[in-house]
Symmetry: C3
Subunit: 373 residues, 3 copies
């Protein structure tokens, strides 16, 4: 891959293009210790890092030091100690007011299913200077329905429609609750009622019942707003091989016109791109993966540009916790897409005008079309 001409019209355009971050969470609101920070740089591990290890020694850790340090007045590649020291002098709110506006994001579409001690949509909008809209997590709706008296299905539908009235889409974490393989057809009303009874009897927390998970998905399809799926890498509670989006094929064949957005995708981004070509309603996104790949993100971004039609690719950071992640997602995406598209132009495979247009499609046009923002 040839080096991108940073002075080109394409490079300037990408540096300034406003983004719709179509899948993100809140940033922290209150101070924490270094262990909390380091664990937030490791996606897959669910335990404290080993004594011999530090999350700074990873692609994401190096990317934080390369790209976030200058915004805190430090040199690029500042040491972990200097970075943590400087970061500790600031509150999370102050960090948010530094990193969020610097991301160049006009709209944050916020999965509010992770809401413990992180900014809500109003706070995110305030800190960033952008708009923030909600994406409703289906498993949270299920838990609310389980705790509502009366018929579960009716409660689910009522809560979903009420919350969705001001939300732009829905989100499924089926990948964490048993994975994609197996039957994903719509269950009967009787099956739903029986499964809801069993689940309520057992406490109604952390939904893993397959019948109710399937019910929720088909309710989301019926709602018609974009339905986001966690796909690929996540923490180790998820069996990664069961988060391969090809196991969604039968479900996608029944999903009609409701946009289905495959999030993260690594290491199944090629499979996800295939699905985006195969179904008019399927989209791909590389959020989370881009941050964790750091210096290796350009190759990943390039793989998203293989089979997926260019009107079916969207941007997100999947930032959660440190506000650095909301900024870094945008920065690594800008650097990566510039490198990839510039190499296509340098090889005369693409025109520069097309490259600029595709950057706009991914940065905002595609997301604006499906989320109506």
């Amino acid at each position: 891959m040839t080096m991108p001409p940073v002075g080109s019209a394409l490079a300037s355009h990408i540096a300034g293009v406003q983004l719709i971050d179509q899948h993100v969470h809140g940033c922290w609101l209150t101070k924490g210790d270094r262990q909390r920070f380091e664990n937030s740089l490791n996606e897959a591990n669910t335990e404290p890092l080993a004594d011999f290890d530090t999350a700074f020694d990873s692609q994401l850790g190096f990317a934080v030091r390369a790209h976030c340090a200058p915004l805190l007045g430090l040199p690029k590649h500042a040491s972990p100690e200097d970075y943590w020291g400087r970061r500790s002098e600031l509150t999370e709110i102050e960090l948010g007011r530094i990193f969020l506006p610097a991301a160049g994001v006009s709209d944050w579409l916020v999965d509010t299913g992770l809401d413990h001690d992180v900014a809500d949509t109003a706070q995110l909008a305030d800190m960033s200077g952008g708009r923030a809209l909600e994406v409703v997590r289906l498993e949270q709706v299920a838990e609310q329905a389980a705790n509502t008296p009366g018929d579960y299905a009716s409660a689910f539908e009522e809560i979903l429609h009420r919350r969705a009235a001001t939300a732009v889409g829905t989100k499924s974490i089926l990948a964490y609750r048993g994975g994609f393989d197996g039957d994903l057809s719509e269950p009967s009303a009787a099956e739903v009622a029986a499964a809801a009874d069993r689940w309520r009897d057992s406490g109604g927390v952390r939904l893993r019942d397959r019948v109710l998970l399937r019910f929720g998905l088909h309710q989301a399809v019926r709602l018609g707003k974009p339905l986001q799926f966690h796909v690929g890498l996540g923490d180790r509670d998820c069996d990664l091989h069961k988060a391969n989006p090809l196991y969604l094929l039968d479900f996608l064949r029944q999903s009609g016109d409701t946009p289905v957005v495959l999030l993260h995708c690594y290491p199944y981004e090629r499979e996800a791109g295939y699905l985006a070509q195969a179904f008019n309603n399927v989209y791909v996104d590389g959020g989370l993966s881009v941050n964790h790949l750091g210096a290796r993100a350009p190759g990943f971004i390039a793989r998203l540009l293989e089979l997926a039609p260019f009107r079916k690719i969207v941007y997100s950071s999947d930032g959660f916790g440190p506000a650095e992640l909301h900024f870094l997602g945008a920065t690594l995406w800008r650097n990566g897409i510039r490198q990839v598209l510039s190499s296509f132009v340098a090889d005369d495979e693409w025109s520069e005008a097309d490259a600029i247009r595709v950057a706009d499609l991914i940065a905002h046009d595609n997301a604006a079309r499906i989320y109506h923002v």
Copy 2:
């Protein structure tokens, strides 16, 4: 990857080397509308493209505009409107007479299983100025046998041998008829007879019966001519994860000396290359994938050059429909292999003489050896 020295002996050689296109279909014979053309640029989707979409906004669409436009007297990267406008002024026969000879193909090995309104071998030879030979699709032989009175197995064998007498190989689309996973051993004569009765009773169309599919494969192995398998990406009737060639392992262990050619392969090209190393009779091919990857094709071509021994890699376009695809497959392959091999030479990992020799192996020598052309 360093830029290929386009003036090198290697580059000149690759620009001029004659190809054996070892898996291709006919090009169109009669005029169609823009929707037909655009759908032919999308492999995976089986429905009309969505209103908001256009197949021109894909790697393949961009590659058509970059590489095919000049042959129609247009500038590189001509707009979709200009391209479609100019293309519409010509008949499909005229287009064939432009694009087919420009591919630099000496021999077209034609899978005649898709024969609706496309050129047959004689027409392809005539339009291109090359030779054209037949590859017999096994599922078509099965359907002919189902419609022949008397014993199914005998009819299948008779038709296969009669058609194969003038053909160079056979082709299986098992990937579209249930996939590779599961038992692929040879069924007994009684099982075949019973399955044939059931299938004939149900109409004898679109073979999906596993017993009869297995029977056909083993007949092809016994015939001894190269047996091609559709592997990896295809339209969404195929469950992509069941078209992973590793599920063929048990079958390959029983396939003796009959050459088995794994076609397309994306995104399982690494797995396919492994099989080409593991079995003396297994070959890999990247047709179809190269066209759909467009500007990303060089990386794919490089992945085909990992575990597969160099005497086990063959070229094809898998062109079908627009004659552009027959030409584009060759053009993208020439550009990609030049880039990849030039980078090996530039890094002094390979000698230039070796690189030229490997280009010849893939372009024609390997195919000439196994198909006797």
Copy 3:
């Protein structure tokens, strides 16, 4: 990828860094014919190569000619005939004394499970001038236990502890004995006793009994020394798709603090890197794959630097047979890691000091920590 500045401090450092080769076998001791040599360059095939083929026409064959020829006084890219001719003038011991010291390896950790006509640890140390320590193959311990009178489980434990007293770790070839998918929990004592009786009755060779394989793994976990797994590519007796390390997830969830090292990994290196991030005790290694990828090795080495934390990556050659492979693994690794890290530094994503430090972690620091060498 930009070309690495070979005169940089990073390049100099990598050229000279001493390696711990944490998974290797002995090199040959006695002369053989060209067929033996060529078959040793093909990992996957279990039969003699076809008449039309030569293992010299592969990435590994080209890499031998590029990198090993100069050590035998031949020009780079010497012809196969010249290479074989020159090689034949030397004994295997002489070849070992040329290639082993040239690898720049301080410590060889030797899987002694393949011990037919190859150097043992003392001979390897002598020829190389380095230290050599043993890694005990669990399936060999099982076979020794099967041939020991009395209780199988006690015999296994006794042999394992006796051999492990002077060894640095254990190795499992479960990938070749049924694969990773399926139950890998610890069997009960009664199950083990019954399975051992059955196996002994059937001869006690080539362990494939799942209960006894599971028993061995959990004994190795209990031992606490690093446990190496053959992962990914191997000969075709292994079902490659069942050597996907994601099938180890449940086992890893029970593996406590015992380091688990995933060897080879291709084409599942991204999955392996994910596991190294997900579990404090999981490590990745790319030995064997690097040799077979030759000119394509840099991209593979880069993929190992994606999700895996940098303190969780180790080096090996997996050399076995020709001493060339012990040297080539080191040479291709040095070239590849230099290219990859230099490109990160050239893009200003990493500092050069960090790149040097990460090279040291992979070259020796991580292995020294877990193997206590």
